[in-house]
Symmetry: C2
Subunit: 107 residues, 2 copies
């Protein structure tokens, strides 16, 4: 997976993976890897800053917890985050449609 290709889609991925249930950063990385069948292996240096950005934007709410002696920062989707996710999904459709219409070899 080309690194540049992810640009601008990371936020949609994070919001989407948090739609079902709140997760902490490490679990989010695993969820992305599992859901994509191993194609998405996102480094921590990408995820943690992105989560902070989304929190600052009001799309996520983070909270510290302790589980088995380890500190975790668990993020949940806010209402604004849900709205943003819907927007990201339609943007994704428009994006793939636009690129696809050019890349399609049949035309």
């Amino acid at each position: 997976m080309n690194a540049d290709a992810l640009r601008g889609h990371m936020e949609a991925l994070l919001l989407s993976v948090l739609e079902r249930e709140p997760l902490h950063g490490y679990a989010i990385i695993e969820a992305l890897r599992e859901r994509s069948g191993g194609a998405l292996d996102v480094p921590t240096g990408t995820v943690y800053p992105a989560l902070r950005r989304l929190e600052s934007a009001g799309y996520l709410a983070g909270e510290w917890a302790v589980s088995g002696g380890r500190k975790r920062r668990t993020y949940r989707l806010t209402d604004a985050g849900r709205t943003a996710l819907a927007g990201e999904r339609s943007a994704w459709k428009a994006f793939t449609s636009a690129i696809g219409s050019v890349l399609d070899p049949s035309r």
Copy 2:
């Protein structure tokens, strides 16, 4: 169309639009706009450097021509460019599949 989203896909777009016939930069921009139904309106500051990159990589061959008193640099796809385009197409499929599998709300 978010600018960051284009990152890493520009080269595929350029190669694809040149698959049928050689075109010059200005015509490429128009072709992208038309093929995408207006969704892709790429500025010259993006296209011209990208064309030079692809030429340097050996995927395009550029040639100066004069038409109606105007200088044009026409680019055609090389054999290596065709191979690269095929690779870009399969990369695009893998990319949309990976992102789609995460973004799909049904899972």
